[in-house]
Structures are given as structure tokens and as C-alpha cells.
């Protein structure tokens, strides 16, 4: 039996057993069926619509997408240059494969392909959904194929970068990674800044004039040459990984563990905790005493805060806060220029908030096993409800602080205080709202596979549904009192009541099922 057939047996059996496990649990099976039915229905509905010519993604959006893809490649490069790599999927995977008689290079190629498929499967629901909704952007199959190519290139970069790191040293390799990252950021920022600021139109024209956007437009429309070239690049990277992967196991094992740890941390806290992998373990840290008032369940807030303070998440928070403030200021400047500019700023800010809410909802994975499995978490007199509420606040405050900073800057620069009165509570409530939906769905379907699969889609759907009552009450208050403040307050009160209900539901499930929730997370 060839090496690849043996590896196919390993992953094939795991997929088959996972599918069998899903089918055996009616709730999970229903979740998957609903997601599939939604896509089939949406696809059918779209195919029945007019067969007018598809224009494809227009510039500057196409160029923006190009640089965003470049940004993801740069991040993959930088991550591998820093010694963190998507290789072995677990400690068991590393031990079984390192101890096997399979050719090391074949194993490395298989790991790259496996990680590509897993990453693609993770985002398939989202890619399909947007490909079907924004039909004008291109052909759904071409978009999926193009995204698959982007994923394979992103994963394929890792091993050659990892080998480069071994040859030229981590410092040089990281420097190259930062260079690539800054180039990609420059492209994204140039276009993003020029969108609300007409004074920078020349910059947008220059960047769009480079012609990179045409690659995206043609790929989404199904140009076989463009897609083919993309796959050739992916194949070259995989081949480079194959030929450079002799005697790589020990470093790959360490890099994989680092990557797995980072993923686990990100799933646990969401958002900024993705950066928490870089702890300052080599330095002695000063023990911190809990401030007065942090007693009972609120000690969890202090624990999360003091833990993240010692990680890169702390630096990340300040960077994101500065970015949010900069975007807010840009919107404020646009809003002061003219009536038309104010309309543009409101439209742009609203769209940005909606997109961020959708992405946030999609990525609002929750993982509590690291907490629930520790006896320390259960000690004390406070209820599970109080603990979960404290945890929710502790893992959300950075996100809503950034959103609030953006809104405050927008409102104060433009001098429009209505934006502040409505935007600040909305930013706070929406962040907590998204996280609490994630928490409630986690309590219902704790499996990590479900979290990354159909639950991502279910979270977005639930957000639409759960937003209906606050919006209805907000509208009702607007009609009754003819006041935006009253409408915002009514909507916020209803949303907070929903949050209370969602946390209570999660607490009831966790209390009833205890550690089995944590165990189910691994399946």
C-alpha cells in the first residue's frame, strides 16, 4: 500500500467516524441538514433568476480583495517564519506519524493538503453563501475554486518558509515576513483610506492602475488561465515543500504544537485572544493582586484580564484601538465636508459595522473546556450564570472598547453627537449580543467541528433573528416618542434582556451537563 493510500485511510476513517457520530445525534444532524437545505434552496433560487451577463467584481474592490489575499499570504509567511505552523493536527498525530515508516516528504505533502482541505471546509459555508448572495461578483463555482486556490497557496507557503527559517535564521525570515506584511497592508490601507476621503482619490487611482484587480475579477468570472496559473503557483509551493522536507519532523512537531495552542487559545476567548499565544514566559512576571471589588464571579474578569495582560493580546488591543480610532476620525472628516459627505460617511460606517458584525458573528467560536475542566473554575459560591456572565464580559470588553473608540472619534470629529448617543450603546450591546449568541449555541452544540462548520452559519442566522425584537421595539419607540434616543434605549433594553436570556440558557445547559459539555467539545 502506498504512503498516500495509508494516509488516506487514516483521514478517511476519521471523517467517516465523525459523520457517523453526527448522524447518531439528531440535533447535530438537523443542524447540518438545515445548513445544506439553505444552500440548496439559495442556489436553486439564484439559478431561476435572470441570466443577464455577470459584470464581476469591479475596482477598487477587486484590487482591495487582491491585497487582502496578499495580506493572508503574508500572515501565513510571518507565522511560519515565527515557528508556528499548521502541520500535525494533534500530539497523537505527531507521535503516530513520526514513529511510522512512511516517507517524511510524503507525510509533509499530505499534511499540507489535509490542512488546505480542512481550512477550506471551515470557510465553505461562508464562501458559498456570499458567492450565491452576491451573484454579480462572479460564478459561484469559480469563486469557490479561486478561494480553494488561495487557501492552498496560503498553506503551501508555510513549509518552504519554515525551511527557509531553518537555513537563514528566524530573524531574517521574520524580517522578510514583516516586509511582505507591510506591503500588503499598504495596498489595503491605500484603497480603504481613499474610499471615504476624496482628497486621496489619486492614491486609489495609482494603486488600482497597477492592474492587480483584474486578476480577481477574471478569477471570479471563471477565467481558466488565471485560475490555472493560481493552481500552478500552489503546486510549485507544495513541490518546494516536498523537496525541502527531509529531516523536518522535530521542528514541525514543535511548530505544530505552537499553532495548535494558538488555535485553542483563540477558540477559548475569541478576538484578541488569538494573539495570546505569545506569552512572555521567559520573563519573570510580577504577581498581581486582584483590585477591591473583584470578588465572587467577577474574579473571572480579573483572571482573564491579568492573563491577557502578559500576552501579545495586550499589544494587539492597543493597535486595534488605534485603528478603530483612525477609521472613526476618517469618517468624521468625511462627514464635516458636505451634506453628501455626511451621507457617504453614514453609509460607509453602517456598512462597515454590518460587515464587522457578520464577520464577528461568523468567528464567534466559543470554547469553555479549558475553564470547565478546571476545578478552580467551579470553586466558590457564585452560580454558573454569574460565572458565564462574568466570562462574557471578560472576553468581550476589548472588542467593544475598540468599537466604542471608533464611534466616539467619528462623533466628536464630525461634531454629530447623535452618532455618539446611538453608536456607543449599540457598539456595546451588539458585541455582547454576538458573543452571547455564540455562547448559547455552544451550550447546545459544543463540538468544535460544529462550531467551525454549520454553527458559524447558524450564528449569523440567529443574529438576524435575534436582532428583530430590538429593532421592532426601537421602531415602536421612535413612532411613539419621535426620539432617536428613546428608540436606541428601547432597542438596547430589549437586546440586553435577550442577552440575559441567552446566558441563562447557556448556564442551565452547562449546569445540567457539566464536564460532558467540555468532553463533547473534542468531538
Amino acid at each position: 500500500m502506498s504512503d498516500f493510500a495509508t494516509l488516506a485511510y487514516l483521514d478517511g476513517r476519521q471523517i467517516a467516524n465523525t459523520a457517523r457520530d453526527v448522524v447518531r445525534k439528531p440535533g447535530r444532524a438537523l443542524l447540518y441538514l438545515l445548513a445544506i437545505a439553505y444552500f440548496v434552496g439559495l442556489g436553486w433560487f439564484r439559478t431561476r433568476q435572470s441570466h443577464a451577463a455577470i459584470p464581476g467584481v469591479a475596482d477598487p474592490w477587486a484590487t482591495l480583495i487582491f491585497f487582502a489575499a496578499g495580506l493572508s499570504f503574508a500572515v501565513a509567511f510571518l507565522r511560519a517564519a515565527s515557528g508556528s505552523i499548521a502541520g500535525f493536527s494533534s500530539a497523537a498525530d505527531a507521535r503516530f506519524l513520526i514513529g511510522s515508516h512512511l516517507d517524511e516528504r510524503n507525510v509533509v505533502v499530505w499534511l499540507q493538503l489535509r490542512n488546505s482541505v480542512r481550512t477550506l471546509a471551515r470557510f465553505l459555508f461562508l464562501i458559498l453563501m456570499y458567492a450565491l448572495i452576491y451573484r454579480w461578483a462572479g460564478r459561484p463555482m469559480a469563486i469557490v475554486l479561486s478561494m480553494a486556490c488561495v487557501v492552498v497557496i496560503g498553506i503551501g507557503i508555510s513549509i518552504p518558509t519554515f525551511n527557509l527559517r531553518r537555513r537563514i535564521g528566524a530573524g531574517w525570515c521574520r524580517a522578510i515576513g514583516w516586509g511582505l506584511l507591510l506591503l500588503a497592508i499598504a495596498g489595503v490601507v491605500a484603497i480603504a483610506l481613499a474610499l471615504p476621503l476624496p482628497a486621496l482619490t489619486w492614491l486609489r487611482s495609482d494603486v488600482v492602475g497597477l492592474g492587480f484587480g483584474k486578476i480577481i475579477t477574471q478569477a471570479a468570472l471563471g477565467n481558466s488561465i488565471v485560475i490555472g496559473v493560481g493552481y500552478v503557483i500552489a503546486a510549485v509551493l507544495i513541490a518546494a515543500g516536498y523537496f525541502g522536507s527531509a529531516d523536518i519532523y522535530p521542528e514541525l512537531q514543535v511548530g505544530s504544537q505552537r499553532y495548535i495552542q494558538a488555535l485553542a487559545t483563540a477558540r477559548r476567548g475569541g478576538g484578541f485572544s488569538a494573539l495570546a499565544q505569545r506569552t512572555r514566559v521567559s520573563r519573570a512576571v510580577k504577581s498581581n493582586a486582584a483590585p477591591r471589588g473583584f470578588v465572587g464571579a467577577s474574579a473571572i474578569v480579573w483572571k482573564e484580564w491579568v492573563g491577557s495582560r502578559r500576552t501579545l493580546a495586550n499589544v494587539g488591543f492597543w493597535i486595534f484601538l488605534a485603528c478603530a480610532a483612525a477609521v472613526g476620525c476618517a469618517l468624521g472628516v468625511l462627514g464635516t465636508r458636505s451634506e453628501e459627505g455626511r451621507g457617504m460617511a453614514v453609509g460607509f460606517g453602517g456598512t462597515l459595522a454590518l460587515v464587522l458584525a457578520m464577520i464577528g458573528s461568523f468567528g464567534a467560536n466559543v470554547s469553555l473546556s479549558a475553564d470547565i475542566n478546571k476545578p478552580l473554575w467551579w470553586m466558590g459560591a457564585s452560580t454558573v450564570y454569574q460565572r458565564l456572565a462574568a466570562w462574557l464580559g471578560a472576553t468581550s470588553w476589548r472588542t467593544f472598547s475598540c468599537a466604542i473608540a471608533g464611534v466616539l472619534c467619528w462623533g466628536s470629529v464630525s461634531g454629530n453627537w447623535t452618532i455618539v448617543w446611538i453608536g456607543v450603546p449599540a457598539a456595546f450591546v451588539l458585541t455582547i449580543f454576538i458573543r452571547s449568541i455564540g455562547l448559547a449555541l455552544y451550550a447546545l452544540f459544543p463540538s468544535a467541528i460544529d462550531q467551525r462548520g454549520p454553527l458559524a452559519f447558524a450564528r449569523m442566522l440567529c443574529l438576524y433573528v435575534a436582532l428583530a425584537p430590538p429593532m421592532a421595539f426601537g421602531l415602536g419607540a421612535l413612532v411613539l416618542w419621535r426620539s432617536a434616543g428613546a428608540a436606541g434605549a428601547a432597542a438596547a433594553v430589549v437586546a440586553i434582556l435577550e442577552v440575559v436570556g441567552l446566558v441563562a440558557f447557556a448556564a442551565a445547559r452547562v449546569t445540567k451537563n457539566g464536564a460532558t459539555v467540555a468532553q463533547a467539545e473534542a468531538t
Binding site: Y9, D21, R95, I98, G99, S100, H101, P250
Partner: protein
């Protein structure tokens, strides 16, 4: 008689020297205990031996032949947390090991016999996620025996096992010794090593501070002292 020799093993993590010039050997059909307090470098030694970590220097020799980066094929590791694939059954683990280690002959018969011997036949179709720690350990041991791995390293094997599980594991390790497998067991609990090991190597701060049989250690500790006294004195 084939023997595993570890010579001048050094492993650093930045400025910390986890293992500092460690050398010892274990013969086929022999059990050596690697003793030391927490942080002595036992697990790092095992990870280097099994090919999971790259040592800064040192060599691994089996049966007179220097083992390279593929030493994981010769040296099997049963870690303290015996992780298995959660979505693979016990039998599928054995099938994968037989295929990936290119086991020749009637491996299916041997695998079934191993399940019987380890009293795991009822768990044959149980997924890894449903196995207790003891069962996961047995699955890994069965897999390494099926792969005909001549050296087995047990990292803190008794931790987390109930008394019955500990006794079963001791008997299993004794039977592996009888079958001619070279075994190294790491532990920080002297009494566990006393009941099972032929010789011990005591480590502290990555270095070997003593080695020999329990009788030799006893004699070194003086007329009134015990092996435990010596162990505590050496590792304090």
C-alpha cells in the same frame, strides 16, 4: 544482546539547559528507571529519543548502529498524557500502525492476539475519545508492540491510574520485558521504580547524578540510610 545507548545528550531551550550531557544505556529485556524530581529533564530526554525534539548534541545508538532522525521508528514513546486519535477506533489504530509501519505477515492475527492479551477485545470498536487513560495507554502499547518497536519509553506511566490499572500496567510492562523489549520508565516516585526497574538513573537539573541497581544505591547510602534517603539527598 542489542542495547540502546544514549550518549552525551544535550538539549537547550534558549538559555535553559534541560538535559546536560546525559549518557546511559538499556539492554533488550531490561527495565531502566529514569528518576528525578519535576523539571529534571526526563520528559525532554524522552522527547529527544523518540524524535519529537532535536537535541543540540548527542547520539542514539541501537544494536551498534547510530540512529538518525528516523529514530522514532525504533524508539516508541508512551507519554504521560497518552493521546490517541479521538475519532479512530482501537482496531483502526492498529490497522493504521500496521499499514504505516509496513508490518509484514499476518498482522491482523497478531493485532487480534494483542487485543486479547491486553484484555481490550471488548473495546475493539470503541472510538479513542471514549477510552479511559488506562485504555489509551494500552492502545498505544499494543500499537508499538504490533509495529515491533524494540525500545519503549514510558513517561510517568502510573499517574492518573487507579490501583487496579497500576497493577495491570506493571504486569504488562513485565510481560514486555519478558518478550525482550528494552524499556525505560521515567518517574519521580521512587517506590514505583523499586517494584519494577532493574536499574535506575537519577537525574537532577538535566544531569545524571547517580545510577545503578537499588542494592548498589542502598549500599551507597550507608548503614542506616535507605535508597529513598540517597535519592532525596541527591535531588534536593
Amino acid at each position: 544482546m542489542p542495547a540502546l545507548q544514549i550518549r552525551n545528550l544535550v538539549k537547550r531551550f534558549r538559555k535553559t539547559v534541560a538535559v546536560d550531557g546525559l549518557s546511559f544505556e538499556v539492554n533488550s529485556g531490561e527495565i531502566v528507571g529514569l528518576l528525578g524530581p519535576n523539571g529534571a529533564g526526563k520528559s525532554t530526554t524522552f522527547a529527544c529519543a523518540a524524535g519529537l525534539l532535536r537535541p543540540d548534541s548527542g547520539t542514539f545508538v541501537w544494536d551498534g548502529r547510530e540512529l538518525g532522525s528516523q529514530r522514532g521508528r525504533t524508539i516508541g514513546l508512551i507519554p504521560e498524557t497518552p493521546d490517541v486519535y479521538p475519532m479512530l477506533t482501537v482496531w483502526e489504530h492498529l490497522v493504521f500502525v500496521a499499514k504505516s509501519c509496513k508490518v509484514q505477515g499476518d498482522w491482523e492475527g497478531r493485532a487480534s492476539a494483542l487485543l486479547d492479551r491486553f484484555e481490550m477485545t471488548p473495546q475493539r470498536d470503541t472510538l479513542g475519545q471514549g477510552l479511559s487513560k488506562g485504555m489509551r495507554q494500552k492502545t498505544l502499547i499494543a500499537a508499538t508492540v504490533l509495529a515491533q518497536t524494540p525500545v519503549l519509553l514510558f513517561d510517568e506511566p502510573m499517574i492518573g491510574l487507579d490501583p487496579l490499572g497500576q497493577r495491570e500496567l506493571r504486569l504488562l510492562i513485565a510481560s514486555l520485558k519478558q518478550a525482550g523489549i528494552a524499556i525505560v520508565i521515567s518517574t519521580h516516585m521512587l517506590e514505583q521504580a523499586q517494584g519494577i526497574c532493574d536499574r535506575v538513573v537519577i537525574m537532577k537539573d538535566g544531569r545524571q547524578v547517580a545510577s545503578g541497581t537499588f542494592a548498589e544505591l542502598q549500599s551507597r547510602s550507608g548503614e542506616h540510610g535507605t535508597a529513598e534517603d540517597l535519592f532525596l539527598e541527591l535531588t534536593r
